[in-house]
């Protein structure tokens, strides 16, 4: 009847089930391609030997045992913040307020460390994390409460709470800054290290790592084997199904966000008492947003998220070393991270879809 429709060169077909081997293979190919493209970019832009640059990257991230510890610890912190968004994402609740939840947690911890420095050690070691978790949980429950009862937009709500948290911290700094007017609190309780997360032996990096690994195990079990974890998944799949199954959706939303906020509070506690030993508006440093990348690239799986968090921090630390060794501007290393992320995100397409090319046979001509 009408003119024959020309079949396009290829079309996209969804894969039913990508095998594990296949998806791992695609990712490895993506990383190799990213390294090759990066190498070309390095040579074109700087004329340096890309192998030297990669060696510096490795050296900066894990080149000495101290660097390896710092990289692992920072990965653990990033992972912890990733855990603060993961259960919410399973529930299809777009919590992009981890930054704020971490900040209020850190602020509450710092307040306890500053005002409670005369308390006995055991009291501080209980009060600091308790205050951090409580503050984070409150910050998580506020948008959840409004979402549950009036169906407000949680994306905007959690985002805006980040700015309020930042301003709250700025307000707290007015009282705690040292010296006044400098806008910097500096190390809290530097003399005597009161309230600081203790070192194990001489290693101050191990304890935060262990805490986050413990958290990963608990979360894995909670999400997979408990009734509450199942409820989260059901609410995420379909609220109507959840209603039908007699799940109290409001309660699940609020409870889950309290957990998410509380985990953010733990990250805040670790940052204020275990890593930075200070409070500043930049303490979280955008990790609340990077954590979203961690959660999604890790497919909301605690163990896959570990790999992603480590990879991102590895690149970041390596990037600093590249800047230091080759006097390359920090932007140069951000380009490398960008290329890598581009390929890793891009390869998801090839894992989930395949291309079907136009067949060069008579069938095509006939159509």
């Amino acid at each position: 009847m009408s003119a024959p429709v020309k079949e396009p060169l290829f079309h996209v077909v969804k894969r039913d089930n990508a095998g594990l081997m296949r998806s791992v293979l695609v990712r490895v190919i993506a990383i190799v391609l990213a390294l090759l493209v990066s190498a070309v970019v390095i040579v074109l832009l700087t004329g340096m030997n890309p192998l030297h640059v990669y060696a510096a990257l490795w050296d900066g991230a894990v080149g000495t045992s101290r660097r390896a510890w710092i990289t692992t610890r920072d990965a653990a912190i990033l992972l912890c913040i990733g855990f603060a968004v993961m259960p919410a994402f399973r529930m299809r609740f777009w919590n992009i307020g981890a930054e704020g939840q971490v900040l209020v947690g850190a602020m509450a911890t710092a307040a306890v460390m500053i005002y409670g420095k005369n308390l006995p050690a055991w009291a501080l070691y209980t009060l600091c994390p308790a205050a951090g978790i409580a503050a984070g949980a409150i910050w998580g429950v506020i948008p959840a409460f409004f979402k549950a009862h009036w169906n407000t937009n949680e994306t905007l709500f959690t985002l805006m709470l980040n700015y309020i948290a930042t301003q709250l911290v700025a307000f707290g700094i007015i009282f705690w800054e040292n010296p006044p007017g400098s806008n910097s609190v500096g190390l809290i309780n530097a003399k005597g290290k009161i309230g600081w997360l203790p070192s194990i032996g001489k290693n101050s990096y191990l304890l935060p790592i262990l805490i986050v690994v413990g958290l990963a195990l608990i979360l894995f079990v909670y999400m997979r084997y408990t009734k509450q974890g199942y409820e989260i998944t059901v609410v995420g799949e379909s609220e109507n199904t959840a209603h039908y199954a007699a799940i109290n959706v409001k309660r699940v939303i609020i409870r889950t966000m309290a957990i998410c906020g509380g985990i953010g509070g733990i990250a805040g506690y670790l940052l204020a008492a275990g890593v930075g030993h200070t409070i500043s508006t930049g303490l979280s440093g955008g990790r609340g947003f990077t954590a979203i990348v961690v959660a999604w690239l890790g497919k909301l799986n605690p163990f896959a998220m570990m790999v992603v968090a480590f990879g991102l921090v590895f690149m970041e630390k390596g990037a600093l070393e590249i800047a230091s060794q080759f006097n390359l501007n920090e932007n140069a290393s951000e380009i490398l991270t960008g290329i890598l992320l581009f390929f890793i995100l891009g390869c998801e397409f090839f894992i989930n879809y395949r291309l079907e090319f136009r067949k060069h046979n008579k069938e095509g001509v006939k159509a």
Binding site: R66, G181, S182, L187, N329
Partner: protein, 405 residues
């Protein structure tokens, strides 16, 4: 055998001792670390980096022996950078931003054999660590001189009828409302008033060391508020950019602002950090101890003003500048001469009936942030940077309005 062993032991001890006593380092072997808040694209850090490289070159140390840590925030990252430099074998480590201080002190405690030097900090004198130092430069002297240039410009504007004497109000874009900034703008103001007696000044803070957009906005707000000349204690070219657009003369900081504002910039006050870096590295090479605090001014070449902009400064400025610089070097002119300013009564200092300073303290000992120790009104002047290297003049004097929001 036993005798041989004890001989060997004695020999080892003697060798060990001599190794201790002569901790001299050859110029070819020294390793230097520097932790910067920014990189070479940011004026303040660029000034430090160039200073260190220049000082090292003069001592026969190659640039390869210096390891820089760029863009280090004022967080635990500063501590980690310091530790990393220590583990790389650096003999001396510098850090250039105020907020790095507590983290550098922490690292200094862990590595007593390495010298740690922190710019603009205040705690080395009380930290009780032999290897932790603060350094600054008497930038208030250079700011005073740049103030003289500004005052001469105001005079020219008054003479040409552009403004009346009463309208000679300057604006100042300050970073944070504390001593380092207050000392800076007061010296600038006193310099201007020494040649233009009717000058007044309005200060606004950005609460940031470097925020291009905010500094530009603040300068615009000051101009809108009737300021006819702008100066700054902030790191970017934001204020000069606003001045160039509004046709208002300006005085910069750290670097010459002539490229950013060719028709507005007069000059800038700047620190020559090479003076300190040379001093510190020389001591480390020789294995000699050096003081917890270091500050030097015009007489040691540690501060200066940058090139005068021939297109904007009034005739005769260079001669006046030379005269003031000579007087500062000779010590006949004191920036904070107590006869030249008055202040309302306040905490940490005393004034007589006319408002002239009679007594003031430099440092605080009881933790309430009101200075209560080390009298610094000496021989008719407030003695800035003599007790500790970081400035401590924090009195808002008459003629200056500081807007804190």
């Amino acid at each position: 055998m036993k005798k041989f062993l004890s001989m060997l032991l004695v020999l080892c001890m003697v060798l060990g001792l001599t190794a201790c006593a002569s901790a001299e380092i050859a110029a070819a072997d020294i390793k230097i670390g520097m932790i910067c808040i920014g990189d070479e694209n940011e004026g303040y850090s660029a000034n430090h980096i160039n200073g260190l490289v220049k000082a090292a070159e003069e001592l026969g140390i190659s640039k390869d022996q210096i390891t820089f840590k760029y863009n280090t925030p004022e967080t635990e990252a500063a501590y980690e950078a310091a530790i990393d430099l220590a583990e790389q074998g650096c003999n001396v480590i510098f850090a250039n931003s105020f907020g790095h201080e507590t983290y550098i002190a922490l690292a200094a405690e862990e590595y007593p054999e390495i010298e740690f030097c922190h710019a603009t900090g205040t705690t080395a004198m009380t930290a009780g660590l032999e290897n932790f130092h603060n350094y600054f430069a008497a930038i208030y002297e250079a700011r005073y001189v740049s103030g003289v240039v500004a005052g001469l410009k105001l005079n020219e504007m008054i003479e040409s009828g552009k403004i009346t004497a009463e309208q000679a109000k300057m604006g100042y874009v300050g970073a944070f409302p504390f001593a380092e900034v207050i000392s800076g703008y007061t010296s600038f103001y006193l310099g201007a008033r020494s040649v233009c007696p009717s000058a007044t000044m309005e200060v606004r803070y950005t609460n940031s060391w470097g925020d291009m957009a905010l500094e530009k906005e603040t300068a615009e707000a000051l101009i809108a508020d009737g300021c006819v000349l702008i100066s700054q204690h902030a790191d970017t070219t934001g204020a000069p950019t606003a001045c160039e657009a509004a046709g208002v003369p300006c005085v910069g900081y750290n670097i010459s602002m002539i490229p950013a504002a060719p028709n507005s910039a007069l000059t800038s006050s700047a620190v020559n950090w090479a003076a300190y870096y040379g001093f510190a590295v020389k001591n480390v090479l020789a294995g000699t101890t050096f003081p917890a605090d270091w500050s030097a001014g015009y007489v040691d070449g540690a501060v200066a003003i940058t090139e005068l902009n021939a297109a904007t400064v009034p005739a005769g400025t260079a001669e006046k500048v030379a005269e003031v610089e000579e007087a500062l070097k000779a010590g006949t002119l004191k920036v904070f001469d107590i006869t030249t300013f008055t202040a309302p009564a306040g905490a940490g200092y005393e004034v007589d009936a006319e408002g002239h300073l009679t007594s003031a303290f430099a440092t605080d000992t009881n933790g309430d942030w009101v200075a209560d120790a080390n009298e610094v009104v000496i021989d008719g002047a407030f003695s800035e940077s003599s007790v500790q290297s970081a400035p401590y003049f924090s009195i808002i004097i008459d003629g200056i309005t500081a807007v804190t929001e």
